[in-house]
């Protein structure tokens, strides 16, 4: 018996932001998580709505929300609540000394590790690629031994993007890491956390670039959520720097997670790691507690309200077997076609949306779970993030945006 105001299940972006939102309202919050969630290894940019249902790139995410189907989480929340969530996130990042850039009325195009451009809404300052669009000279920096980032692929990719026929040059720099295992972007970022690494890198970079160009580099500008090195390098080189999206561990997401976890500490959120929530205790349509099932025994934690941010099929919040899908903790219904053949299209990577991608929990306007007839199932449980039905983050590029918006709503209600 451990009493809290709010218990959040899940430690990804949705769980962390929901916990922060609830704690900022003065609620005593406990967050229970198994593992660190995809935010830790992801790109850290906040996609809100990159492509519409027809696959057309979105310029203005807010305007494009009007075209979403009624069961899409953004349609359920409405513009205003998404805007409030985004403002809250931007305010939090700024207050923590790691401001994000962007607004809901504009998408940005940022370079991926393969030299393609992807639409996103909010980015760290160091990923702001507006300078790339207008640049004449672009220097692509790669690191010797960093196999996950190939400068040649980046240049060839970007050249094929309409409007990006620039004067590209490719520079390969050495790190001072020359022993042991394969190099990752995180290793380089750790090297650049050190003063000696920074000094060496500044020397090598300034010698290799001409002032006035735009420098593209993998996400390596330190592991901490701050812009010290970024600003220092822009000053030393006289260039604009752009960190691209990287392969996992992508460092930029690692920084964002660190920022959010720091906030949990400041807000006295109790964090229980390495705990697997196996079921909820339900009495008269309300959840009174959750039960963790670790290797030793089960433990019960009680609260007034609960936020379920345990993820979709991939994250372990939803599970599927032939012809049936369900939510793991509360065994909430997940509506699926009875014919398994209708779950997916034969070609995995066809241009449209896979039906299974939109499977998930149906909710009311407050994000509480409802059944197919719209009847409220649990009056004090709020759903945030990928366990929600109605959106396909892969195709839409909406994952972190839905996570933030629904987490804010859940955290404000719970």
């Amino acid at each position: 018996m451990k009493q809290n105001d709010v218990i959040v299940i899940g430690g990804g972006l949705a769980g962390l932001f929901a916990a922060i939102t609830a704690a900022k309202r003065g609620r005593q919050v406990m967050l229970v998580t198994k593992g660190v969630g995809a935010i830790a290894i992801g790109g850290g940019s906040i996609d809100v709505l990159g492509y519409d249902a027809q696959g057309v790139p979105v310029r203005d995410p807010v305007a494009a929300m009007d075209g979403l189907s009624a069961d899409h989480p953004f349609a359920i929340l409405g513009h205003q609540r998404v805007e409030t969530a985004v403002q809250s996130f931007l305010g939090l990042c700024a207050a923590e000394g790691y401001p994000y850039l962007g607004d809901l009325q504009h998408n940005q195009w940022i370079p991926t590790a393969l030299g393609r451009l992807k639409p996103t809404c909010l980015t760290p300052l160091s990923m702001n690629a507006s300078s790339l669009k207008t640049a004449t000279d672009v220097t692509v920096v790669e690191f010797e031994g960093l196999k996950d980032y190939c400068g040649r692929v980046m240049v060839d990719g970007l050249r094929q993007c309409p409007g990006y026929a620039k004067n590209y040059s490719l520079v390969s720099l050495k790190t001072d890491i020359n022993d042991g295992r394969d190099l990752s972007a995180l290793d380089v970022a750790r090297w650049l956390d050190s003063e000696s690494g920074q000094a060496a890198f500044i020397d090598r970079l300034t010698a290799a670039v001409r002032p006035g160009s735009v420098i593209l580099l993998p996400p390596v500008l330190g592991t901490k959520p701050d812009y010290h090195l970024f600003h220092k390098l822009e000053q030393a080189t006289g260039c604009k720097l752009v960190e691209t999206v990287g392969l996992p561990p992508a460092v930029t997401g690692y920084r964002l997670r660190r920022l959010l976890v720091n906030c949990l500490g400041k807000l006295n959120v109790k964090l229980i790691e390495q705990a697997n929530v196996v079921r909820g205790i339900i009495e008269n349509g309300r959840c009174t507690g959750i039960v963790t099932g670790n290797l030793d025994r089960e433990r019960t934690y009680c609260a007034e309200s609960f936020i379920l941010a345990s993820g979709g099929f991939f994250g372990g919040g939803l599970q599927a077997e032939a012809g049936r899908a369900s939510e793991v903790v509360f065994d909430l219904p997940v509506a699926v076609p009875t014919d398994p053949a209708a779950w997916s299209k034969e070609k995995l990577f066809f241009a449209g949306s896979q039906p299974f991608a939109k499977f998930g929990l149906q909710v009311d306007g407050k994000l509480r779970p409802v059944d197919a007839s719209g009847k409220l199932l649990l009056e004090n449980v709020y759903i945030a993030g990928k366990s929600l039905a109605g959106y396909d983050y892969c195709v839409e590029k909406s994952g972190n945006g839905v996570a933030l918006a629904t987490a804010y709503q859940a955290g404000a209600e719970a």
Binding site: R181, S184, L186, P249, L271, I272
Partner: protein, 397 residues
């Protein structure tokens, strides 16, 4: 072996463990948890190659804690290490680092002499030849072990009993922590039982690849504890590595009768006291305790999936302020930091915690793990206490 705890194929190669492995961050000699654990496990069906990179895993469990897919990565490493060293000649260092219980049995009866013997320059030189660093002071044997002190102590009898599994460190080096536990339990109307025939929990043996010996220790401990947990009497630890072994690692690495029942009855001492509080049975007549404190969470406590019970408990002391350092692993990992080959890595891992503590300038560091306390107090110069020691002070005013 619990099958559900042993599936390298659950690994989706997401790299979360790589991102949060403190050893990988500190040294490039370690290929990292993903590579050494699930990735290589698929190739370990037959004859194993000797891969010295595996030696760098400190079994700190940060990989398991960060894994979203529930893969027991550190356990895969420890099992692989045991297989790698099976029937191989081992160094004196490896033997000493994993059998400190035996050495303590010999040295502890002459504690003063042993401490003098260990601290003199000649011994230090010899130890360095063996591979033990001279940059860190080894812990000192207590003049009387916990067991000796406990046997001499007259307890008040109560109907509610708890069993205490002290572990080697508390028995030989920090008996006062064990006696603090006894005092706190007595205050809460619990009689403490220390059964005959308990042995080392096996954690240092597992860490050095002596799995077969660890299995024997576990078998011995289960047999000694069974009469008590069969009656529903809880088994308390206040060493987080002993606790992790009894609760989880035995089940992950071994297949022994009654191991599930032992795990189900094992409690971290602070966890147990919090449960008492939940049942309205905790004596909360705490007197204020003066001083400036900073708390460090041991990785082996985080791995237990119970949060930070000591912090919650200490927050009940009126007016008590304690800062949560929240600065990651201390690097010591039991005996890891004592080895010449690993000491610099342990110090590099600890740097953020050292920095945090030095900036805070506490009167005391507080931590549940003996290895953490040793490392942090030597690394920062501030003394370190077990949470139960503070709790006892709050009771005794």
């Amino acid at each position: 072996m619990k099958k559900h705890q042993y599936n390298p194929d659950s690994c989706i190669a997401c790299t979360s463990c790589v991102a949060y492995c403190p050893v990988s961050a500190a040294t490039r000699k370690f290929a990292g948890p993903k590579m050494m654990g699930p990735a290589l496990e698929r190739f370990r069906g037959g004859e194993t190659n000797t891969d010295f990179s595996l030696d760098y895993c400190a079994n700190c469990k940060n990989c398991d804690i960060s894994c979203p897919s529930g893969v027991p990565i550190s356990t895969l490493n420890m099992l692989a290490r045991a297989k790698q060293y099976k029937n191989k000649r081992r160094s004196l260092l490896d033997w000493m680092m994993s059998h400190s219980d035996l050495m303590s049995k010999l040295a502890s009866p002459m504690a003063a002499l042993s401490n003098f013997g260990m601290a003199n320059p000649l011994t230090k030189m010899i130890l360095k030849q063996v591979g033990i660093t001279d940059k860190m002071s080894l812990p000192k044997y207590a003049s009387k072990t916990f067991l000796q002190q406990f046997r001499a102590f007259k307890q008040q009898s109560f109907p509610d009993k708890v069993v205490f599994f002290s572990g080697c460190f508390i028995n030989y080096y920090a008996p006062e922590v064990g006696m603090d536990l006894v005092a706190v339990m007595q205050r809460n109307k619990r009689e403490v039982i220390v059964p005959e025939g308990l042995d080392c929990c096996g954690s240092p043996l597992v860490g050095k690849g002596y799995l077969d010996e660890a299995v024997e220790k576990a078998r011995t401990n289960i047999a000694a504890l069974k009469p008590w947990f069969d009656q529903g009497i809880p088994v308390l630890t206040c060493c987080t590595s002993c606790g992790l072994m009894l609760k989880m690692e035995i089940q992950e690495m071994m297949d022994l009768e009654h191991m599930e029942q032992l795990a189900a009855h094992t409690y971290d001492a602070s966890e147990y006291l919090l449960e008492l509080h939940g049942q309205g049975q905790l004596d909360t007549e705490f007197a204020p305790v003066a001083g400036r404190y900073i708390y460090h969470t041991p990785c082996h406590l985080r791995a237990q999936g119970i949060g930070k019970p000591s912090l919650e408990l200490l927050s009940m002391i009126p007016g008590f302020q304690i800062e949560d350092a929240d600065a990651g692993c201390c690097g010591q990992s039991g005996t890891y930091g004592f080895e010449v080959a690993k000491h610099d890595i342990a110090m590099a891992v600890a740097e953020p915690v050292f920095k945090r503590i030095k900036e805070y300038q506490p009167d005391y560091i507080v931590s549940d793990c003996s290895g953490c306390r040793l490392q942090l107090s030597q690394g920062t110069g501030f003394p370190a206490l077990h949470p139960l020691t503070l709790l006892r002070r709050a009771y005794e005013g």
